[in-house]
Symmetry: C2
Subunit: 236 residues, 2 copies
């Protein structure tokens, strides 16, 4: 998400909190995700954040609405509520892939059908895609076999939504499996363009993590094409 | 580990704490693993535990010695300190597979070489094996490709140590890749036989988890061949 924001708003100052102590959120319970997402937003507000983006799809799916009710005075954008209407308006047979938490929540289904009840939706949890990216195996036979297992059921769709932060890194692999006729959609790109930041603070971005991030160098290169300087702090 | 303990001591009462809110420990930082392992042991002691087994290999590797110093009045067994001398006495060219945390700590190397400085040790982190088991993919082409990637470097070893709780579930797959001449060693089995419990409490075991466990039904069937009743509590 940071990469997509910087593409749309170069130099935008970002205060980032990655909950590496408790990740992955994709297999955690609903109450857990709500509780920690709430703590993190409170902490970011104390640090001067003026606009909140929930960059985790699982947190968006399980806690987005809850968080907007909890913090009424600030804009909280997530990976579903702004992108979904755009996607619903452009496609009619939509595949969704994400973490078990995101898929089980049916948040995408609800948002898309609210926009257009005629849309056909096919969804699939792909839990091995995140560790695959964290291992840096974005191609090769193991990656191809995993993609084959998860994606073989997608037939006759016109778009496939990558509803997890890590999946856009596997875009080429996914595209290869589903074929060129299916549009691969990254909600983070749509969201970044919709954000229209009011505050354009060009100060230095800060990247906080609740524990030493695993394989950070490789992952930040894959996601941002540059290295970041992590600040380790676990305030909860 | 629970399965191996019950095999050696049927009906032994177990108070289990699975830190599902913060798992996996295998990619977390050393300070984090020490801090939460300490909190968990304190909590188990409050609940009446009289003998502690660190059933997580990463916690054993990163925090075992620290925890024994911290809690001097109680026996704390881990997955390395009792099994390593047995393994060092039986083999001379030993492969170790485990999480990135366990492998990076070099705890196995230190313990084995302390027993016998002539042992040759070859180690490899296999981060995708845990999510593979949690997905229930214990065979099939994706599992075989992942095993091939991780295990192809093991040549001329006489034993391969499964230094992670989840790996024994992949024993058949691992055996198939490395061949029948290599002994597959599960430290949990050795530890269970070494424990010689003083207290044989036949009361009902309790299984606490800090968050709703993902895929519990499948995993408890794979590990224990029976279902368990989870109690969800996050005291930290």
């Amino acid at each position: 998400m940071v990469g997509q924001i910087w593409k749309a708003f170069p130099e935008q100052k970002i205060i980032y909190f990655g909950d590496t102590a408790r990740l992955p959120y994709g297999t955690k319970g609903v109450d857990f995700v709500k509780r920690y997402s709430e703590k993190i937003i409170g902490w970011l507000l104390e640090r001067g954040a003026e606009d909140i983006v929930i960059a985790c799809h699982t947190s968006s799916a399980l806690a987005g609405n809850h968080l907007r009710k909890r913090f009424k005075d600030i804009r909280i954008s997530d990976m579903i509520s702004l992108p979904a209407p755009k996607i619903a308006g452009s496609f009619s047979r939509i595949g969704i892939i994400g973490t078990p938490g995101t898929i089980k929540s049916k948040s995408w289904e609800k948002m898309l059908l609210q926009e257009n009840p005629k849309i056909k939706i096919y969804s699939k949890a792909c839990p091995l895609f995140v560790p695959l990216v964290e291992e840096g195996w974005i191609n090769g036979r193991a990656a191809e076999e995993i993609a084959e297992s998860y994606l073989k059921s997608f037939k006759n769709i016109d778009a496939l939504v990558l509803a997890c932060t890590h999946y856009p890194i596997l875009k080429r692999l996914i595209k290869k499996r589903v074929g060129k006729n299916i549009k691969i959609v990254d909600p983070a790109e749509i969201l970044a363009n919709e954000l229209k930041f009011k505050v354009k603070d060009k100060g230095e971005s800060r990247f906080y993590f609740s524990d030493t991030p695993y394989n950070l160098k490789k992952i930040s290169q894959l996601c941002l094409k540059k290295e970041i300087k992590p600040i380790i702090t676990n305030p909860f």
